[in-house]
Symmetry: C2
Subunit: 328 residues, 2 copies
């Protein structure tokens, strides 16, 4: 099969389409003909050599896909050739074919295109994990979602709105991202470049008012996060785009407000964990994708021969929502 | 009734026994004639004026007691006068009588003295909350317990050993405290004054080997804690005896190892929470106290007319285990 390959892993890496072995499904796996995949920051990191795929995962980039079942393993009971599926991968999405455990695949709801389906798994599962499994967001609680224009951000806002009826605060650095956040369900949206979001929150909602924070930024937001968190508040870190080193930090709020600070990435979780997460997510959301209550925000779609340009767009933070690759 | 009263709340406070109103049990409360109470660091803080009792709580010092039921409220079904009970208080232990919600009281196991029963609630419930409810310690996991000679430390070691069959690492600053820790079930015990416990743990057990840390120290241990925590590790902060300000902290381990950092104090929890915690604790441990598998470590017992000397002993960190007051 054809697959995108990284030449010169490192700072000057480039991408080419080459010929590789088509993977073979194990007895509990299905072989999927990929119709679309989508970009993640992990892809950009992986080609620099700084984020190697976890053990056992494909070396090929691509952490999610949609496509059509081509072949099923001996013990597969859920799927048959021709079924439309989508799901999370530990790698291997930038290719014509991939294998996936039958329980990791979800059925594409009617009327949902391959392009849209491919844009769902990473961001929505990450957001679902952060809000539900880690942050333990409860109905009507207040949630603060940073990097609200990102794929995970736009997904988290929708899930917080439709699954938890939460009071949602979003931060982003561009007006159009804040507008999107509000359209998706954010009640408050602050421009971190122009506003001190902590002051705004205390002013608009009150002191110690945020139950859950989903943070991708890290360092620049630590103190403000501590200031706005409510009693028993929780912070879930998914990345540190703004740096990770904090000078002078007091642990007092953690004790005084009984806070929980945690971090998680999805990729290095066990397959068993990802299966359970996928199943929990699918049972709560697939009908909502079907009736378009939930919709992935798609920034742009590129033919996979132009993946380099797609990567550049993400590298330059130009995207609001997901960048999709098609045409395999 | 007689009760110990704080004169001159502040740095020069003193204690006297005075006459105050005997509390009246509400319909769901019992009135207990107190036979013993025990000291907590919160008592020392409260008399300085820096740790006021939570709303609704007695102004009188004392967060735990054992005694005999004197009178029961209209709706009380569990107890009758003459029953031997012990339990957690939000305040009011340094007195002849106290009231307590019937569901917050536990029956004193046969053969357990009032003195020993009074030494159980704060430290064992705090340790149980830290290990089970917050740290989610699992059978056979590895737990690191700092300040192992303290009341909570000695309780946590016993619970980790008998309820979770955990691999237990203890730290303390005195050899006799380390000896006690080992007698109670610690597999490894390090003197933090003479040893770098992180290096010792990595050497004796391995890298990234600690699943749960119970920490009362804070600042001086942050980096070492991060170094030894395992994937999906958890840190529970109960106080910051060594300070709370950390210079130069990296958030990276939190994400890379998917850590959870949390803080909690027991006192300001809701009554409902304390009832659920007490019930969960009682159901798992009372038979173990009865057959002496679990035993509170008692440092010393003072007549309550000598409470000032008892406070001095705790202030000077002379105690290993609990300091009990009797003779009310």
């Amino acid at each position: 099969m054809k697959a995108i390959q990284v030449q010169n892993l490192g700072k000057r890496s480039s991408l080419t389409i080459g010929e590789v072995q088509t993977p073979k499904p194990s007895s509990s796996e299905i072989l999927v003909q990929i119709k679309a995949t989508a970009l993640n920051r992990a892809d950009l990191l992986q080609r620099t050599g700084n984020y190697p795929p976890p053990e056992g995962a494909s070396e090929i980039l691509g952490l999610e896909m949609s496509g059509v079942v081509e072949q099923v393993g001996d013990k597969v009971t859920k799927w048959q050739p021709g079924d439309r599926v989508f799901g999370l991968l530990a790698g291997g999405g930038y290719a014509e074919y991939c294998t996936i455990h039958e329980d990791m695949a979800m059925e594409i709801p009617e009327n949902l295109s391959f392009e849209k389906a491919a844009a769902i798994p990473e961001t929505f599962l990450t957001a679902f994990q952060a809000l539900d499994w880690l942050g333990k967001l409860q109905e009507k609680e207040t949630v603060l979602i940073h990097a609200a224009g990102s794929g995970v951000g736009t997904s988290a806002i929708q899930l917080a709105h439709h699954l938890f009826d939460a009071q949602i605060i979003a931060t982003a650095g561009k007006q159009h991202k804040l507008d999107t956040a509000k359209e998706l369900g954010a009640d408050f949206a602050y421009n971190y470049k122009e506003q001190n979001y902590a002051k705004e929150i205390i002013n608009d909602i009150g002191k110690d008012s945020v139950d859950v924070i989903v943070d991708f930024i890290g360092k620049p937001y630590w103190h403000k996060n501590m200031d706005v968190l409510a009693m028993d508040g929780r912070v879930v870190y998914l990345s540190f785009l703004g740096g990770h080193k904090i000078e002078e930090l007091s642990l007092v709020p953690i004790l005084r407000k009984r806070l929980t600070v945690m971090g998680s990435t999805l990729r290095n979780r066990s397959e068993d964990y990802k299966i359970r997460l996928t199943q929990a997510f699918a049972s709560k959301t697939l009908t909502l994708f079907k009736d378009k209550t939930l919709e992935p925000v798609i920034d742009s779609t590129y033919d996979w021969t132009e993946t380099e340009a797609a990567h550049q767009r993400m590298q330059n933070n130009k995207n609001t929502g997901k960048i999709v690759l098609t045409g395999m």
